[in-house]
Amino acid sequence: MNITAQSLITSLTEILGSFAFLGPELMLALFFLLIVALDLFKSKLIKAALPWVALSGILISLISQIYFLNNNQAKQAKLFFSGLLITDGLALYAGLLFSVAGILTIVLSVLSKQLQLKFSGRGEYYAYILVLLAGLNLMAKSVNLLMLFVALELVSIGSYLLTTAIKRQQDAMESGLKYILYGTLASGVMLYGMSFLYGFGGSLSFLDTAFWANLSRLDSPFFLVIFLLTFAGFLFKIAAAPFHFWAPDVYEGAPTPIVAFFATAPKIAGFVVIIRFLLQIKNNLATTLQDDVMLLVGGISLLSLVIGNFTALWQSRARRLLAYSSVAHAGFLLAALAALATNSIEAVLFYLSVLLFMNFGIFLLVQVFEERLQIFDIKGLAGQGKTYPLLGVLAIIILISLTGLPPTAGFTSKLLLFTNIWQNYSATGNQLLLTLLLVGLLLTGVAFFYYIRIPYFLFFKRNLNPEKKVVLGREDIVLAFISFPLLLFFFQPAWLTELIRQVVLYSK
């Protein structure tokens, strides 16, 4: 190939200019290196400062995200790095959520007793979180199959390492191994699907209309197979059935702050990628194939809803219960996306934002109960609500929100989601959407049945061996802070929806 000097110079300038859009990721990378360097020192003072260094790194990246969001000139979708990445409302909003998730993860880690103990590689732990965040940001910005794969692998490898952060724990190792096996399998399958996409589409960029025009010529069953293979990787990240098998084990074995992070951030990133794909499919793919995609997404949603909710019913440990409930949440979100309509993005983003606070709230509770009170299964919670009334009331708020009952933001998010499905159903008359709506609503009743078991044990059962009351100062305050948005966004949802609306306006 002949590359003229002129075109080389233009692409070099383009690449140099592109770095401006990579601010948040560069910050995270910089602080990653800083933490690795600081971790070399043996001084206790420096070791103790590591979480705060990581926290400030995330804060700086958050500020740069907010800067991009507020900058009026930046309010349009822009491709950079010769079309590998995009900066648009969707990516920036997701970045915002990742940063909040990162901050809460660090806060939970600081509160965690398990992580305060000396263990080898404590610095690495915080460094990995930053890498993971950078990977997630890149994943949300990718519009190129190859770039997407690289970003996804960055996230995956970071996740494997964090799962086994506390190496002395037997079950951590087991769950880490399971995670790696499932994860690499999913990645491999996804890569296989992507190779088909590249082969038939003739391009790596999935914003390319020619790419979809080529794919439109494929036969329906064959396209569906390719589609499912490719989506395996994303569905794995959002823990949708039947790609959810890793979730219960990882949730059980990994450190609690990391589990809260896994239940939230990769899920958001996965959904951003799925939204990008589905929007392109909606706009550019042949309509007969679109119907198949709808059926497939709807089917996966249905499967996730049913498997998630019904399996959660039989769990006796909070972590496993939450793992299956997280599968169910993925099902709810996919149900809204099954319509392939642009108007579902707002509802999905609102749901994800609320889910973030709910997840960190509930996992902080799990952490408090496990580490401070030595309670590991739900039955052990008996009577603790009376000993710790504030904790109990906050637990009720969070669980009510997870179920989706008023007066919490969980209700508002479910209301918006179901409204959206209903609207798309009345617009298209598609029976699949109606089925999803009805199944989703009825399973909310089932969901309530397993969530309510926690307050049920907290308040109704008697504590048979009362122990000395542990003072929970910091945990109570942090938990109150996390639960506050759940009430706020019920009474003032417009504050969040307005932001999301503006953000969606310049998304691709």
Binding site: L405, T419, Q423, L434, L437, L441, Y456, F491
Partner: protein, 565 residues
């Protein structure tokens, strides 16, 4: 007095905050705050009752307060608007009065609660405030919010302060009601995506200036434009307002619940399905056979005051929902399913009474009699006649008073002996004469003896049911005839229980704990039972006291249902 309705709702909620701030051991103070708050609520509701203008010139809602609360921009789909919208009319007036009254009685009955007093009274007041909110809300979302808000306090009140099987009963109560409210939620979503607020739409589309009352002409113009399809999309304001949903002109053309779009699902009109979902949702609360099975468990396990609230107020929310939302919003479906509704009503009457006849536990007997009596509400409503609907509303009020008495009576026996089994007692009239007199009043009022409020209500309902086939053509005569059998069964189970427990030689089962002494009523118990007995008599002798206030609005409700069917 613009804020009277809001004060009715928020006084108990404010008292919750005060109680939460009080120290745990200051039990007298907590009780006094609760008593004060509910008494204030009672005074306000009595004032509201007297100030309510029932002359025919005033139609619609009074003491209205309407504020914008949540607005969500749905872009091309318009604006979603949730209002804080409260108001009172003849339908809600009697329920508000009942709530004010029963809350005070409940507090007096709760005076002997000894376990975790602070939590108990906080939850109690939260419950009372939510019930009041339910009866006053005119915005579906607000109604639903209060409707859901009743669940949690009730769940904890049964689950913590209840009897031996309280946990099972609490969960069962919650699951049943939650399923009901999910069914309601489905229809609520459908309704608000279909309906719009013409006044707010006029302002949003710049057809009327903001901040002023929108004139009827402009409203009609907006409705015309929307129907014609010239006003669409982003300028439409979706609403949860129940009065707006009652007008067919306020539905967007082509939307799923618009009567003109005639959408069908599985060959049934969608509006009929929506009616059925709502009906089942409220029927669970009412409760109606066969979805009544949570009620006996909840009643038996709940402490006495909570049973009183459950029977007197919470069941009424189900009936009230039918009056307020289901029938006016889906009149044609209501007319179509009148036969079905009447049939389940009669089924409840007969089945409930037969179950009551078979019960060995006095509280269970009364719980099943509630099922039977609430069947009359359905029958009266289904008849769609003036007598029937007025009777249904009267039955809700009257049953509220009588069932409160009945549950307090079981509480009196249980407090003394720790048992409620009918077979454990005989000849109580000898040791508790005053109590027996009040029991006779309650039992006879409940079985529908003339002179008591239950008689008026059931008479009106049966009159309506009999005349229905001739007047509105809704119910066949045989339903009314069978329902009359329910009165007979009612007489049977009450008189039989009376005979077994109170007459004959005095005897109490010797194996009951601590060899109970069946002393007569205490002052506190007089304070609860006597006012209720007097009210039951007053409303039995002078039905016009209530009917004058409520019937203009009920007749208006009936007219609008019959016109739009």
């Amino acid at each position: 007095m613009d804020y009277i309705l809001s004060s009715l709702i928020f006084i108990p909620l404010l008292a919750v905050l005060i109680i939460l701030c009080l120290p745990k051991h200051f039990t007298q103070g907590i009780k006094l705050v609760a008593l004060l708050a509910t008494s204030l609520q009672l005074i306000l509701s009595v004032w509201l009752y007297s100030a309510f203008d029932a002359s025919a010139t005033v139609q619609g809602y009074q003491f209205v307060q309407q504020l914008n609360w949540i607005s969500l921009n749905l872009q091309s789909l318009g604006l979603l608007q949730i209002q804080y919208f409260v108001g009172v009319d003849g339908i809600s007036l009697s329920m508000v009065l009942l709530t004010g009254l029963i809350s005070v009685i409940g507090i007096i009955s709760s005076w002997t609660i000894s376990k975790n007093i602070k939590g108990y009274f906080a939850l109690y007041l939260l419950l009372v405030g939510s019930v009041m909110g339910c009866f006053l809300a005119l915005d579906f979302f607000l109604f639903y919010l209060f409707f859901e808000f009743m669940l949690l306090p009730m769940y904890f009140l049964i689950g913590i302060w209840g009897g031996p099987r309280r946990e099972y009963a609490a969960i069962k109560f919650f699951i049943y009601t939650l399923i009901g409210s999910l069914l309601i939620l489905i229809v609520m979503i459908g309704l608000y995506t279909s309906a719009f607020d013409p006044a707010a739409t006029a302002v949003r589309a710049n057809l009327a200036p903001a901040g002023q009352v929108v004139s009827a002409e402009v409203v009609a113009e907006v409705q015309r434009q929307v129907a014609a399809g010239t006003l669409t999309g982003a300028s439409i304001v979706h609403t949860f307002s129940i009065p707006d949903m009652q007008q067919a002109a306020n539905f967007i053309p082509g939307s799923i619940l618009n009567i003109l779009s005639e959408k069908q699902l599985w060959d049934i009109p969608v509006r009929y399905l929506a009616f059925l979902l709502l009906f089942i949702g409220f029927a669970i609360k009412l409760p109606v056979v066969p979805v009544h099975t949570w009620l006996p468990d909840a009643h038996v396990e709940a402490p006495t005051p909570i049973s009183v609230l459950l029977a007197s107020l919470l069941l009424k929310v189900g009936g009230y929902g039918l009056f307020r939302i289901v029938y006016p919003v889906f009149p044609e479906a209501a007319a179509y399913y009148a036969y079905f509704v009447g049939l389940v009503g009669v089924l409840s009457i007969i089945y409930g009474a037969m179950c009551a006849l078979a019960m060995a536990d006095l509280k269970k007997l009364i719980a099943y009699s509630s099922v039977s009596h609430m069947g009359f509400v359905l029958l009266g409503l289904a008849s769609l006649t003036s007598e029937g609907t007025n009777g249904a509303m009267y039955q809700m009020f009257s049953h509220g008073l009588i069932s409160a008495m009945l549950f307090i009576i079981t509480g009196v026996i249980y407090d003394r002996s720790g048992s409620r089994m009918i077979d454990n007692f005989r000849g109580l009239a000898f040791s508790m004469p005053a109590f027996t007199a009040l029991v006779v009043v309650a039992f006879f009022a409940s079985l529908g003896l003339p002179g008591f409020s239950g008689f008026i209500a059931e008479l009106l309902v049966l009159l309506g049911a009999f005349s229905s086939s001739a007047v509105s053509g809704m119910l066949p005569r045989w339903l009314a005839i069978v329902a009359t059998g329910g009165l007979l069964l009612g007489a049977a189970y009450y008189l039989w229980a009376l005979q077994r427990m109170f007459f004959g030689k005095h005897w109490v089962h010797p194996e009951l704990k601590g060899e109970p002494v069946m002393t007569d009523l205490t002052k506190r118990e007089y304070l609860m039972l006597v006012p209720l007995a007097i009210l039951v008599l007053i409303f039995g002798l002078f039905p016009s006291l209530l009917l004058n206030k409520i019937s203009p609005d009920i007749n208006y409700f009936l007219q609008s249902v019959l016109q739009n069917r």
